[in-house]
Amino acid sequence: MNVQIILFIVLASVAAISSVVMITRKNAVISAVFLVLNFFALAGLYLLLNAQFIAVVQVIVYAGAIMVLFLFVLMLLNTETEHKLFADKRAIKFFAILISAFVFVQVAYLIFHGSPSRTLTSDEAASVKAGTIQAIGQQLYTNYIIPFEVAGFLLLAATIGALVLAKKKFE
């Protein structure tokens, strides 16, 4: 067996299992920790796909910044556990699983029906070149310069918005 296949199986099963564990735990903090595990597995998968820059950003931004924010708010609010909600909402759970299974079957059918790997021949050298910071930065600062600036502005607006919303009183 190829090393890449073994790595893919390990990382994919970690990602899948941690996502399922995340939505089934009653304690929200444990959910957050499993979401971090899921993000790390995804970063590994990005490395396997030769996307080095995105893998590093995934760890720094998602697993680092966003999840720290989530855990901070979770521990700040000290929310009650969801015991009573897990016990008596069987119908909602059943329909939720039904709906998501339906969506999954549809998407899986489309993926296998379209079967993109039949027409798409992967080129290892081009794939490695596409994932480097150089290639992404070149795109960001030439063709996508306006969206890049808008993204910066969006982050500024989000910072101010978060400050205003989290303040004690609106003025």
């Binding site: 190829n2 994919a12 996502s19 996307a51 966003i66 999954f104 993926i111 982050l155």
Partner: protein, 102 residues
């Protein structure tokens, strides 16, 4: 990379998206609902990176960069809204936050 067919990544991504959908529908803690939305955004990112890598084209990864930016902004504003709601209603249970319901 070439030894793994593309469908494996796409199926994993679809599975994670559906787990996120189930989480949004079943969980009643607003913060956990937010985390499920992050999971769905990440599964979409995995699809984008897969296609970008197999096509040898970096534009898909540029899009992932923008998705991460929007996710960070959304998490900051969303958590601020949850804090504001918690300050007023002393709960983050989305069944009890129904002031817009009529």
């Amino acid at each position: 990379m070439s030894s793994i067919p593309m469908e494996c990544y796409l199926i994993l991504s679809a599975f994670m998206f559906c787990v996120g959908v189930a989480g949004v529908l079943t969980r009643r803690n607003a913060i956990v609902v937010f985390m499920c939305i992050e999971l769905m955004l990440n599964s979409a990112n995995l699809t984008l990176v897969t296609f970008s890598s197999y096509l040898g084209n970096s534009i898909g990864q540029v899009f992932v960069f923008f998705v991460m930016t929007v996710a960070a902004a959304e998490a900051a504003v969303g958590l601020a809204i949850i804090i504001a709601i918690f300050r007023n209603k002393k709960t983050v249970n989305i069944d009890e936050i129904n002031i817009f319901k009529w």
